[in-house]
């Protein structure tokens, strides 16, 4: 999965699940203060990312450090790389 695919899939989650306009989805957008998500939304974000990327991330410690969209892109990329490495 390319970096661009990760960005597009992630942004689609924000557009569809959280009804946020595409132009606001810039990499350094803070998901709480800029995009207005709250604690309940984070649960839904995890559910949506799991479904969208076919991964299990609910119990990943690194989830707690996510603050910006770019953090999510990096986090998903890492998970996907680890997955590929395990399979490889």
């Amino acid at each position: 999965m390319t970096e661009q695919e990760i960005i597009e899939k992630t942004n689609r989650v924000f557009e569809e699940a959280f009804e946020i306009e595409a132009e606001r989805l810039v990499p350094d957008a803070h998901i709480f203060s800029d995009l207005g998500l709250d604690s309940l939304d984070i649960v839904d974000l995890i559910v949506a990312l799991q479904k969208s990327f076919g991964v299990k991330i609910r119990n990943e410690e690194a989830v707690r450090d996510i603050r910006t969209l770019a953090d999510i892109y990096r986090f998903i990329a890492t998970i996907k790389q680890d997955e590929a490495a395990k399979q490889g």
Binding site: G36, L40, D41, V43, D44, V47
Partner: protein
């Protein structure tokens, strides 16, 4: 402590005729049916009744996402009804003591669609991880009351009586007591419910649904009619604004009516069948609380859902209490049985009939059934002043409820 007089100063409705009181009343005036054949219901094995009266949901995205995410369909209906009711009452909550403003909204259960969605998501692999954070808030029994309170950001009493098809009248009766006792200043009260094949199914397995009109949905349900064959489920929400009389007069509010009597009781005999004797007691006690004789009632808005047994019991009970002098109609023929919402949707319609001096007839009552005879059925519109009306509501569990409303003089 003297009890306060309680009046209704606002109405808000989402019904199968559309959003708003005006849509409801124009559907009734036109003698239209909102019942239709439901697409996809054939997939439910054993479901005999394939008709329903759905609400077309509109404008839900006007509710901010973070308020809307915990709402199933019924809570969206309730929020929209709340907006209309407050506007109709001329109330701006910004000017109210929010600790004294609450809502009492009943239903049979939480959002039927959300409950089904939750189990369909979770059960195939018993995977809780697929559920989103707000699914439960859509499913819980007090979902409509909670969501309206969150939506309006009010801080008073929030309650959710669950009494199936009597839920809305329980809510209004309970709200009336809270105002009467001086515990709250303003309450939004009523019921909300959703249409879903599993909801119709709960009646269908008891053979209480209309199954003979799947190809002629616009001709069913048929309350009190010879050819009735059961109920048709609908959905929606109606809320009334309750205030104490002195406060309403002080602020120059439009007053639809005063709630002068209420009673709820139970038959204690059968979990699904209604019972004349207990209905008679319920209506008589409500009239006694209102301090009026049966002959002083100008209109009875019946519960009559078009089930074989229920309509007969109610007709007999009305005959026992009122004889054949008081006009009676049921509105279920127009938009089905909206279950937990029926008490308040039909009360709102009856209050508008009172305002307009016009009684709408029972739709599809072409031939009064022998077992429903002996009361004054309304089969064509009746014009005339309505000073006092009675609203009946009955429910599974043998529950009866009767509300008496009287026009306020002056």
């Amino acid at each position: 402590m003297a009890l306060k007089r309680v009046v209704i100063t606002g109405l808000g409705v989402v019904s199968p005729f559309g959003n708003g009181v005006a849509a409801l009343m124009s559907g009734l005036a036109a003698g239209r049916s909102a019942v239709r054949r439901m697409a996809g219901w054939e997939e439910y094995v054993g479901l005999q009744s394939l008709v329903g009266a759905p609400v077309e949901m509109i404008d839900e995205k006007r509710i901010p996402r973070q308020k809307r995410r915990s709402m199933g369909r019924m809570s969206i209906f309730a929020a929209q009804a709340a907006d209309e009711a407050l506007l109709d009452a001329g109330l701006d909550l910004a000017g109210e003591d929010r600790w004294r403003v609450g809502c009492v909204i009943g239903s049979t259960m939480g959002s039927a669609k959300s409950i089904n969605d939750a189990f369909e998501l979770m059960l195939p692999d018993k995977d809780l991880g697929r559920l989103n954070s707000t699914q439960f808030f859509q499913c819980m029994s007090h979902t409509a009351a909670v969501n309206v309170a969150q939506y309006l950001e009010i801080n008073g009493t929030i309650m959710a009586p669950a009494a199936a098809c009597a839920s809305a009248l329980h809510a209004i009766g309970t709200g009336r007591d809270l105002i009467r006792l001086g515990r709250q200043d303003v309450l939004l009260c009523g019921g909300a419910e959703e249409l879903h094949p599993t909801v119709t199914g709960s009646f269908d397995i008891l053979m209480a649904t209309s199954a003979g009109y799947n190809d002629r949905p616009e001709l069913t349900p048929r309350p009190f009619d010879r050819d009735r064959d059961g109920l048709v489920c609908g959905e929606g929400c109606a809320l009334v604004v309750l205030e104490d009389y002195d406060r309403a007069v002080r602020r120059g509010a439009k007053i639809y009516a005063e709630i002068t009597g209420f009673c709820t009781n139970a038959n204690g005999l059968h979990v699904s069948q209604s019972n004349r004797e207990s209905m008679v007691v319920c209506m008589r006690q409500a009239l006694a609380e209102a301090g009026i004789a049966p002959a002083e009632v100008d209109y009875i808005n019946a519960h009559a859902t078009a089930t074989l047994q229920g309509d007969q019991e109610e007709a007999e009970a009305i005959r026992d209490v009122f004889g054949a002098g008081v006009p009676v109609s049921s509105l279920k023929g127009y938009f089905g049985h909206t279950l937990g919402a029926s008490g308040s949707i039909e009360l709102a319609a009856a209050l508008k009939m009172m305002e307009n001096g016009l009684i709408h007839p029972t739709l599809h009552l072409d031939n009064v059934a022998d077992d429903c005879a002996g009361i004054r059925h309304v089969t064509a519109p009746i014009k005339g002043e309505l000073r006092t009306i009675v609203k009946n509501g009955f429910a599974f569990g043998g529950i009866n409820a009767t509300l008496v409303c009287r026009k306020v003089a002056g």
